[in-house]
């Protein structure tokens, strides 16, 4: 399997069960899928299970992938997030690791594995996140990357529920306004 195959082509091979394409597809995305799952569920064994479920859904529903709407990575990570949030709701997990919020500004110093994940589209998102007011950024990251509700964020931050909702709302709206001018297809 040539390493230069596009994400779309790899998904095609994965969706039809080609063994080489399947292994390459999982290897290409496992770090991001597992990372997101672990952030949301906070437990390695459960994160593995969530990541496995996400890949299985991608395999089952690869036929529904629409390249005009999102990149393969965005599509796959949205699946992962939904699976992980369902799991946390079922298990009422409370784990939260806030290191991402603090290290957002250090993206340029990240290692090679992270550098491989950072396309122009991802970099644009990171840069816009960094421009948010810190309290808004925490609210957005806790919600988007950790699947936390406004109620949970209010408890974590020691703020009223209404304030948590306002921070989520204002942060997401600002990102939408700022990111609307960049190409969706840049996200890989």
């Amino acid at each position: 399997m040539a390493p230069s195959l596009s994400d779309d082509a790899l998904l095609a091979g994965f969706a039809v069960g080609d063994p080489d394409a399947s292994l390459e597809f999982v290897r290409r995305f496992q770090r991001r899928v597992f990372g997101l799952a672990l952030r949301i569920v906070g437990e390695i064994a459960l994160a593995q299970d969530v990541a496995q479920q996400a890949f299985e859904k991608a395999w089952r529903y690869g036929a529904t992938y629409d390249p005009l709407r999102a990149s393969v990575a965005t599509w796959l990570l949205t699946i992962t997030r939904n699976v992980a949030i369902d799991e946390t709701r079922r298990r009422r997990m409370t784990f939260v690791e806030l290191s991402d919020v603090a290290t957002l500004a250090d993206e340029r110093d990240a290692g090679p594995a992270r550098a491989a994940e950072v396309s122009d589209g991802v970099r644009a998102v990171i840069e816009e996140l960094a421009t948010l007011r810190p309290e808004h950024r925490r609210a957005v990251v806790l919600s988007a990357w950790y699947g936390r509700t406004a109620d949970e964020i209010a408890t974590l931050e020691g703020i009223p529920l209404g304030t948590a909702k306002t921070r989520i709302r204002d942060g997401v709206r600002r990102l939408r306004d700022r990111l609307a001018t960049t190409e969706l297809g840049d996200v890989t």
């Binding site: 597992f34 390249p67 991402d100 990240a110 939408r176």
Partner: protein
């Protein structure tokens, strides 16, 4: 359940798009969206932004061997049946997709009804006697996107699919194996949508068994 006004929905839309709105508020907002295109569009818009933010989350290495574990657990589930159409053998995998001259193709399946977007060209292909028929859509995107839906009334030998371009070149999309029933295929081609003039199904002997000109 009290109906919500637009300004209330606008305030809750980010949480709905994030998937973290609680049950009662979620139900109220969804009820409102059933009858409000403006708010539904806002939620769609926010969901797109959030998907981008989610995709920017830094990865974490999984435990060693996770990749093979995933593939091993999927293997017993194959072969799978598609939700909408029979698809017993799809082009024998990506590696078997024929590619013409300087043109390349990265094919993948699309779902029934998944051809949303700026569709610019359509061709209807019909075989003599109507034993094979279908539709081909060419989307003017970057790269050009093609979807093909074909119905064949009885088991036949392999059917090859190709697109003819205005300059005489032919884009060979691939082959439907053990044809019979309804099939779908989609992929991208390195040719402009405006250059595609005809879609064809070609029999094993090389003869064109069905074709259709694009609008």
């Amino acid at each position: 359940m009290n109906p919500l006004a637009c300004d209330e929905v606008v305030g809750l839309a980010p949480e709905l798009a994030l998937g973290v709105l609680d049950g009662s508020e979620r139900a109220q907002v969804l009820s409102h969206l059933d009858s409000c295109d403006t708010c539904r569009h806002l939620v769609d818009d926010l969901a797109t932004t959030i998907a981008r933010v989610v995709s920017a989350a830094p990865g974490i290495d999984p435990p060693p061997g996770f990749d093979r574990q995933v593939v091993a657990q999927l293997a017993p589930l194959a072969p799978k049946e598609p939700a909408y159409h029979r698809r017993r053998r799809f082009f024998a995998g990506v590696g078997a997709v024929a590619v013409a001259a300087s043109l390349s193709l990265a094919g993948f399946l699309v779902a029934s009804g998944g051809d949303s977007g700026p569709v610019t060209r359509r061709a209807t292909i019909t075989a003599a006697g109507d034993w094979a028929r279908g539709d081909v859509l060419v989307v003017d995107a970057h790269p050009t996107w093609v979807t093909m839906r074909v119905s064949v009334d009885y088991e036949a030998a392999n059917l090859h699919c190709e697109l003819a371009l205005a300059d005489g070149r032919v884009v060979k999309l691939g082959t439907f194996h053990e044809v019979g029933g309804a099939w779908e295929w989609g992929g991208t081609i390195q040719a402009a949508a405006s250059d595609v003039v005809e879609a064809r199904l070609v029999g094993a002997d090389g003869s064109i068994v069905a074709s259709g000109r694009f609008d």
